[in-house]
């Protein structure tokens, strides 16, 4: 390009209109600028997003509990979305903006079920995320996570940025007792170490800075003893956030979520006897089936190994018994057993209760 331009200039010096020269110059500039535009746009995205992230300080600071977390601005007039946690369990919640301005925040409302809270600070014209404009991402999508992990940023220092990918879109629910959280909905599982102390409440965006979700708390997967990095998709929480902002939100406690029925099913009602529960994790083999019982009628036999109760994997006698506690005795139950290397499904119901 440069060589070309040079030849041109020497060959026909007099007859180049100024406009053309200007055009050439612009063109040359464009080419140079372009080679770096991917990083430039990433820098821009980050620069535009960081002011939307806030540092939140509150209760804690003892017994290994951090007294800080992250949050994001969701309105120009100072609504802050963050996670519901002990940090907010105080009258003195402090929100520090990207430019170092400090505000005392008011807790507008919180929903322990979806583990979110909305704060309000008195300010105007703030850079913010627009929740209805939030987008979705598929597995493998490149993402940026903005948070004040480990409380490393203070004063007017901007939040930290991490990059990674959506490992998979999944549910946290899985099996009972797997995750120590009350949130049971969809999540983005991430392949970066995003969920650190202080990061909860931060923002997950795509490569263009569009909001995808809110970073969750530190969470261990009790199924395989690994830490899980996740974010809650915006569409899972938009309604709750709107309800809180408009004052329509009715608080629910976490306990209301999963109630055991008053009269639950049990092995006795079904006529099944499992092998003696002698190990920490005794496989739930059927030891005997009572004659004239629902189990006998359904064709269950001794030595069947129970694998699923209503399609939930039960890995031990204890798990089987506790799974039945969640099923009302008037409801039918599907039991899947393995017999001679074949999977066999049976449906059974407890006999009607005698009045």
């Amino acid at each position: 390009m440069q060589t070309l331009l040079k030849c041109f200039l020497t060959a026909r010096p007099k007859i180049i209109p100024f406009r053309l020269l200007a055009m050439m110059a612009t063109l040359a500039f464009c080419l140079v600028a372009n080679s770096n535009s991917a990083t430039a746009s990433l820098r821009q995205v980050i620069a535009q997003t960081q002011p939307k992230i806030v540092k939140i300080y509150g209760a804690g600071g003892f017994q290994g509990l951090e007294a800080y977390q992250s949050g994001m601005l969701i309105s120009a007039e100072g609504h802050v979305l963050t996670v519901w946690s002990y940090v907010l369990d105080t009258d003195e919640i402090l929100v520090v903006l990207d430019d170092g301005r400090k505000f005392k925040a008011k807790l507008m409302g919180a929903d322990p079920r979806s583990e979110l809270a909305v704060l309000k600070i008195e300010a105007d014209d703030l850079a913010h995320f627009d929740l209805p404009a939030a987008v979705q991402a598929e597995s493998g999508a490149r993402v940026l996570a903005f948070s004040n992990l480990f409380g490393v940023a203070t004063g007017d220092e901007p939040a930290s940025v991490q990059h990674g990918h959506v490992a998979v879109k999944s549910q946290l629910e899985a099996r009972r007792g797997v995750f120590d959280t009350t949130y049971k909905g969809a999540v983005y599982i991430l392949d970066a170490m995003t969920n650190n102390p202080g990061a909860a409440g931060g923002a997950l965006t795509n490569g263009e800075g569009q909001l995808l979700g809110m970073l969750g708390k530190e969470l261990k997967n009790s199924l395989n003893n690994t830490w899980v990095n996740y974010a809650i998709p915006v569409d899972q929480i938009t309604k709750t956030v709107d309800d809180i902002r408009t004052g329509k939100f009715v608080r629910q406690t976490a306990d209301e979520l999963e109630k055991k029925p008053e009269k639950a099913l049990n092995l006795e009602l079904l006529g099944m006897v499992l092998v003696p529960d002698v190990l920490e994790r005794t496989p739930p083999f059927v030891d005997a089936v009572r004659a004239d019982s629902p189990a006998a009628a359904a064709g269950l036999r001794a030595d069947d190994l129970v694998l699923f109760v209503n399609d939930r994997l039960v890995q031990s006698c204890k798990a089987m018994i506790s799974e039945l506690e969640f099923i009302d005795r008037i409801d039918p139950v599907k039991i899947t057993v393995i017999r001679d290397q074949d999977l066999v499904d049976v449906n059974l119901s407890a006999p009607a209760e005698k009045k």
């Binding site: 390009m1 070309l4 041109f8 026909r12 007859i15 180049i16 053309l20 055009m23 050439m24 063109l27 464009c30 080419l31 372009n34 080679s35 770096n36 535009s37 991917a38 746009s41 990433l42 598929e138 597995s139 493998g140 999508a141 490149r142 990674g164 990918h165 490992a167 998979v168 879109k169 999944s170 549910q171 946290l172 629910e173 899985a174 797997v178 599982i189 392949d191 970066a192 170490m193 490569g207 997967n221 199924l223 395989n224 003893n225 690994t226 920490e280 994790r281 005794t282 496989p283 739930p284 190994l305 694998l307 994997l313 039960v314 890995q315 031990s316 393995i338 290397q341 074949d342 999977l343």
Partner: protein
């Protein structure tokens, strides 16, 4: 006019040229912009396509029943991942996923159907298992990346299928290294954890580089390497390799690490040439005629200048594999084809009945006899205390270390030819070694006393010691007469639950330390009520620190423990056998799996038994196990109730420590 015409033409040409130029520039600018701005998006699309391509071959594995924890590691019960490796229903997965020995295995295919599976075979070398499911239709088999195409720095995506909903979960990274873990694995910085162990590591085209497994350069058990999960270092066994051993696994053959049966001196894997220190009797090396002193020069045509290269060449091979081994014996080149085995006959340490004098001057060279075991081969051959051994089998013996080194290579059936000097008179004796005895002599000649030197020396007496990175505290006792010219035995006392009072401890050990040239180290558990397995590390580091500061006789580093402390003593010794050479366990069952007895790293045991001990059966079982492995186990029966050692038993313990370097 003509001028003008020309001019117009010129201008016209000029404009045409310019237009063409602009077009070229715009096009190149556009493609540049496309290139730069779309790169992240194109990469993302390529990754998603790669995962989509391999996804049909990735299965989800669930298990029922089995152990809850192995050692201190709580085992997950969550779903894990597997990879289809042949269309007729064979699936490879990580052995980690089966460490809990489940009673039933279920495989969930990519369409969600679940099928029972059987475990066909295990590759103990690379920690993989092969499963088989019954299939009606052919399963999709992924394409493997040839090993010679793999490059450090290329994209690598770790894929599992363990999250709710059954969609594959992915983590992107690059290939960080090849031929890791002694040539067995690809290393990646993608996040590798129980969430994808058993799943594939794929390239940007969705071809499989390898199968994700936890691996550790040191440990070899089912769970080794798990502590590195999601840490930026993960491993995958190349699929190309798996495919090469698939026929053997399909037959139900478990693959095990191959053993040659040679030991080397020292721990400097990278500095030292692989010169054989000893060949285990009846090992493949022994049967092939290799001898102590031979230098292994090549394995399968690969030059082995360092012990590490040899280890790399052998550790990737299986039992049953045949190696072409070249050794140099002086100038002679000897070539042998040697088939590796999975297990060696237990090693019986050869014993003549000599207790050597320590710290003798370098001149005259040789090893002075301190004590001769009654009834031993040396006694029968007429060797006497005070004799100075000068050569073995025709080779001069400069010092005790040289004698120990040559003793490691003796055979039980082969007489050893000793030359000795008795007050200027030269003796030649032929002595046939026997298996090491475990009885402790009733009396030993006193250790030569030393006096404190005039110059500088490290702190003596009762010392407080602390390692900066640990919470634990230690006390140590160094005899007042400590002289850095003399070597000292090191006794590490591991207290029982609740600790030991310092006064009692010093009252017990001070005199023995002064008289027998011992240094006492007493670490304390962080939680006074109990020792925790991770404290093994701390104890090892505390030992290392003492060894740095004082002149410690490497042959006589022992750990003495009561109850919980005794159990931990076993664990420390098993994990650090290059440092610890004796374990005295008082009223304590074995903790951990004993390593094989072997020539170079000596280890002896002193164990008390009592009829009504809490763990009487376990203690007895442990002793039996150690004896079967041909370890030297000295037992002391305490009668009915277990307790701390009485004076007589303690004196025996001290004599046992004083005789650990017997030959």
């Amino acid at each position: 006019m003509i001028q003008d015409q020309v001019r117009v033409t010129h201008r016209w040409n000029l404009i045409t040229t310019l237009c063409a130029l602009v077009a070229v520039c715009v096009a190149s600018a556009a493609s540049d912009r496309l290139h730069a701005q779309d790169l992240p998006r194109l990469e993302q699309q390529a990754m998603q396509a790669a995962v989509a391509r391999v996804a049909p071959s990735i299965v989800r594995i669930e298990t029922v029943g089995g152990l809850e924890r192995i050692g201190k590691v709580l085992l997950g019960t969550g779903p894990t991942t597997g990879l289809i490796v042949s269309a007729d229903g064979y699936i490879i997965s990580s052995a980690f996923n089966f460490a809990q020995k489940p009673s039933s295995i279920l495989v969930g295919l990519s369409d969600g159907t679940r099928t029972p599976a059987k475990l066909v075979a295990t590759d103990h070398q690379r920690m993989l298992v092969l499963l088989k499911i019954h299939v009606e239709e052919n399963l999709p088999v992924p394409e493997a990346v040839p090993e010679n195409e793999m490059q450090v720095g290329q994209w690598s995506i770790a894929v599992g299928r363990t999250f709710e909903g059954g969609q594959p979960n992915m983590s992107a990274g690059i290939v960080s290294g090849l031929n890791r873990i002694w040539g067995k694995a690809i290393q990646t910085d993608a996040k590798v954890s129980p969430a994808n162990y058993g799943g594939p590591l794929v390239d940007i085209r969705g071809r499989v580089l390898g199968v994700l497994v936890p691996l550790s350069p040191q440990a070899t058990n089912d769970l080794a390497g798990v502590e590195w999960y999601d840490s930026g270092i993960g491993f995958a066994v190349p699929l190309a390799h798996i495919n090469s051993v698939l026929p053997r696994l399909k037959e139900g053959t478990d693959l095990k690490p191959g053993i040659l049966g040679v030991s080397f001196n020292g721990n400097d894997l990278y500095g030292k040439q692989p010169i054989i220190a000893s060949c285990r009797p009846n090992s493949p090396a022994y049967k092939a005629g290799l001898k102590a002193g031979d230098r292994i020069a090549e394995i399968d045509g690969q030059v082995t200048d360092r012990q590490a290269q040899l280890r790399q060449a052998i550790n990737r091979r299986y039992a049953g594999d045949t190696l072409k081994v070249v050794v140099m014996r002086d100038k002679e080149r000897i070539e042998r084809d040697i088939a590796l085995v999975d297990q060696l006959e237990p090693f019986h340490r050869p014993f003549l009945g000599i207790l050597p004098k320590r710290d003798t001057p370098a001149d005259p060279a040789g090893v002075v006899v301190r004590f001769i075991y009654p009834e031993s081969p040396a006694a029968k051959a007429g060797l006497l205390p005070g004799d100075r051994i000068t050569s073995v089998d025709g080779k001069a013996v400069a010092n005790l270390a040289a004698l120990v080194e040559s003793a490691n290579a003796w055979d039980l059936d082969q007489p050893v030819k000793l030359e000795a000097d008795r007050a200027g008179e030269k003796l030649t004796l032929e002595i046939k070694p026997v298996a090491e005895v475990s009885a402790v002599p009733g009396e030993l000649p006193a250790v030569d006393p030393v006096t404190a030197p005039a110059g500088e020396r490290p702190q003596v007496g009762r010392i407080d010691a602390k390692l900066p990175e640990f919470k634990n505290e230690c006390i140590a006792y160094v005899p007042d007469s400590y002289n850095p010219q003399a070597s000292y035995g090191l006794v590490v006392w591991l207290h029982p639950p609740g600790g030991t009072k310092e006064e009692e401890l010093l009252a017990r050990w001070k005199e023995a330390c002064d008289k027998h040239r011992l240094i006492l180290l007493a670490p304390r558990s962080a939680d006074p009520a109990k020792w925790l397995p991770p404290e093994v590390d701390f104890i090892a580091k505390a030992i290392a620190q003492i060894r740095e500061t004082y002149n410690i006789d490497a042959q006589r580093v022992v750990i003495v423990g009561y109850q919980g402390g005794g159990s931990l003593a076993f664990a420390v010794a098993f994990a650090h056998r290059d440092v610890v050479h004796g374990v005295a366990a008082i009223d304590a069952p074995i903790l951990g799996k004993p390593p094989e007895n072997e020539p170079v790293h000596r280890l002896a045991f002193f164990i008390t038994t009592a009829k009504k001990a809490n763990f009487a059966d376990q203690i007895k079982g442990g002793i039996e196990g150690l004896k079967q492995m041909k370890y030297s186990v000295t037992t002391r029966d305490q009668g009915d109730a277990a307790r701390q050692l009485n004076d007589e038993e303690f004196a025996e313990l001290v004599r046992w420590i004083d005789s650990l370097d017997k030959i």
